[in-house]
Symmetry: C2
Subunit: 356 residues, 2 copies
C-alpha cells in the first residue's frame, strides 16, 4: 500500500528523453540540441581524472565530499558548512522540497518553468501556483505578490531562466528577496549562472541556491550539483540527503573540472559566440530570437502551432530540440548552443524545415 | 523555515566515512576492510566501458535507464516494468520509505541493522521499532509478531543480513512473508544476494527487493542500485524517483559488469575462499567467527569492550574495520573479505593487536 502522498499523485514523467526518441524511431539523433548539454564537452583534465578514477570504482565515494566541497567553498568565498553536494539539481530539487515544504504548502513558480521542479514539489504533496511570464522574462513583482496572496512557503526563481534565457541583475534579485513574505524561502536555481554577466548574490538567510556541473562544466552525465545556503539550511539538507549520492568518479571529475577555469572561460566565450551565430541564422530566416544569458536560445516561431510543427519536423530530420510548454513562450523553440559546425548544420535544417 | 519533519529531526550521520579517519589522522588507510567494498575490483570489461564513457560525460544519462533495466529484467526473468534504477541502495531506501510510509507510521527492523535504513525512515517522519537478533541471526518470528503488534506499514529484512552475515533460505522467507499483516510491505534488502547459496524468491505483491552493483559487482563508487517489485510498486517509485539519478558512465559500467558473469562467478568463489581464510586466521588466534553468506565475516571478540578496543587498535595501525552497533552483535568486529594478501596482512595486524 503506497503512502498517502504517492497514492494521490498521477503517474507522470517530467521529460521525454532524447534516448526515447531514438528508440521510437530506431536511429540515432544527428543533432542533440534539446537538453542544454554542453556540446563542447568537459575539460580534458576532468575527463583524464575520470578515466583514472574508473579503476577505483569498487570504492565508495566520500559521503561527505570534503575535497570537492572545500574547493567549491573556496571558489565562492564560503565555509564548507554552507555547501552540500547532490546528485545533480535533480536530487537537489527533491531534497530542498523535502527540507522546506510540508504537504499542502504552497509553492510559487513561473508558468512554464523547469518541469522537474514541479515534479519534486508534487512529490512532497505541496501545491504549485504559477505566475505568467511578462515580456518573455520572469515577472518578479508578480511572483512576490502571489507569494503573499498564497502565504507561499517557497518561491522558485531560475536566474538565468530556463526556458526563456532571460536574466535579472543581482540588484533586482536582491530587491525581490526583500519583498518576500517572512518564512518564505527563495530557491534560486543558478544552473546557468556561469553564462551570466554577473551572479554575485550575498548570502541571505531566506535564500538557497542550486548549482550544477551539468551546463558550463559539461558534466551532465556525471550528476554533480551543489546547494549553497546558510549553515542552518545546509544542516537541514544534511538531515535527509543521500549519503553516497555523487559517484566517486564524478566527485573526482568535478574537482578536476573546477580546477580548469581556463577551459571554463573558453566555453563561456564559445557559448556567447554560438548564441550570436544561432541568432544570426534565425534572423536570416526572418525569425527573432529572445535575448539569452544561457547556453541555449529561444527562437520565436510566431505562434504555438508553428513552434510545435517545427520541433516535430526537426525531429523527423533527426534533430532534437525542445520547446517551452506554456504560453507565452510556447511560440518558441529552444535550441542548445553547439559547436560552430553544429550551429551551421542546425541552420540548414531549420531552413529546410521552414521552406518545406 | 524547515519542514515539520526536518525540524523534528536531530542532526545525524549514519556513517563515519573511512575518508574521515584518513583526514583526522593525516595519513591513508593501509587496509580498507570496513565498508564491504569488493577488494577484487570491478570487471575489466566494466572498467573499460567506463573509461570509454568518460569522454561523453557532457551528455545526460538516459533517465529511463532502458538498456540497463532491460538487461536486469532479462536476467531476473522479469518485465522492465518490474525494475527501477536508483543511485545505489542509498537512494532506494529513501525512495521506498517515501513510496510506502506516511509520517507517524511504524516500521519494523532488526536491532543493529543497516543504519542508513533507519536514517531514511526517520527522514519521512516514521517510527522505528527494533527486534533483537536471535542466535546471531534475524528473528523472523519476532519481526512478524512486532509488525502485528504495531500495525507496521513496512518491515525491513536484509537477506543475507548485514552486519551478521546470516541468511535465511527462500522457503523461510516465503513462510515469513505469509505471516505479515495485510497492508504491510516487506522491503527485502538483497545487497549481498549474489554471495548467497540461493536467493530465488518469486514475485510477491507485498514485497519490494533492493539490489546493488556495490558489492559482488565491485561498483560501490558508481552508485547503481535497483528495485524489483510489482508494476504497481515500480509505478509508485516512478512517481517520485530522481530522473537522472544514475550517472551515464555508471549505467554503462553496470551494463558491462552485468555482461561479465564469468568475472562475477570468480569473485563469488574468491570471496568464499576469503571467508575461509579469514575464519582460519581468527580461529588460530582462538576466536570464533559467525557463519557468513556475504563478503564480510564477523569475528567474535567475546564482549563489547574488547570489540571496541580492537577496532580502535586496528585503526591505529591504519586498518579500517567496523563493528555492529547493537547487542548482541556488538561483541564482534566485522571484516570485509579482501585478496589473499590482504587477508594475510589483516591476520598479522589482528595478531599484533591481540598480543599487545
Amino acid at each position: 500500500m503506497h503512502s498517502s502522498i504517492v497514492s494521490g499523485l498521477a503517474a507522470t514523467k517530467p521529460f521525454i528523453a532524447p534516448e526515447s526518441f531514438e528508440r521510437e524511431r530506431g536511429r540515432p539523433l544527428r543533432l542533440r540540441l534539446g537538453a542544454n548539454e554542453s556540446m563542447f564537452g568537459a575539460s580534458p583534465m576532468a575527463i583524464e581524472a575520470m578515466v583514472r578514477a574508473s579503476s577505483q570504482a569498487n570504492l565508495y565515494p566520500d559521503p561527505d565530499g570534503v575535497e570537492l566541497r572545500t574547493a567549491l567553498a573556496e571558489g565562492h568565498g564560503l565555509s564548507i558548512q554552507e555547501v552540500a553536494l547532490a546528485s545533480g539539481i535533480d536530487e537537489l530539487l527533491s531534497l530542498l522540497a523535502r527540507v522546506f515544504i510540508n504537504p499542502g504548502d504552497t509553492v510559487v513558480t513561473s508558468l512554464g518553468s523547469y518541469p522537474n521542479f514541479e515534479y519534486c514539489v508534487n512529490g512532497v504533496g505541496a501545491i504549485i501556483q504559477r505566475v505568467r511570464y511578462r515580456d518573455d522574462a520572469i515577472d518578479l513583482e508578480a511572483l512576490s505578490q502571489r507569494a503573499h496572496e498564497t502565504s507561499a512557503r517557497m518561491v522558485y526563481l531560475a536566474n538565468p531562466d530556463n526556458p526563456s534565457g532571460s536574466w535579472h541583475e543581482p540588484s533586482a534579485v536582491l530587491a525581490f528577496i526583500a519583498t518576500l513574505p517572512p518564512d518564505c524561502t527563495l530557491l534560486l536555481d543558478e544552473a546557468y549562472a556561469e553564462f551570466a554577466p554577473d551572479f554575485a548574490i550575498p548570502a541571505h538567510a531566506a535564500v538557497v541556491r542550486s548549482r550544477t556541473f551539468s551546463k558550463a562544466y559539461g558534466l551532465a552525465g556525471a550528476r554533480v550539483g551543489y546547494v549553497i545556503g546558510s549553515p542552518d539550511h545546509i544542516g537541514g539538507v544534511n538531515k535527509i540527503r543521500m549519503q553516497f549520492g555523487v559517484s566517486r568518479t564524478s566527485q573526482i571529475g568535478a574537482l578536476a573540472a573546477l580546477g580548469d577555469q581556463d577551459f571554463l572561460a573558453n566555453i563561456i566565450k564559445q557559448t556567447a559566440e554560438g548564441r550570436k551565430a544561432l541568432s544570426s541564422q534565425a534572423n536570416a530566416l526572418g525569425l527573432k530570437t529572445l535575448p539569452s544569458h544561457t547556453n541555449f536560445v529561444c527562437i520565436d516561431m510566431g505562434d504555438r502551432p508553428t513552434a510545435d510543427k517545427t520541433v516535430t519536423a526537426l525531429l523527423e530530420r533527426d534533430v532534437f530540440v525542445r520547446k517551452p510548454w506554456a504560453d507565452p513562450l510556447d511560440r518558441c523553440i529552444r535550441v542548445s548552443i553547439g559547436t560552430p559546425e553544429q550551429m551551421e548544420m542546425f541552420g540548414e535544417d531549420l531552413r529546410t524545415v521552414l521552406l518545406s
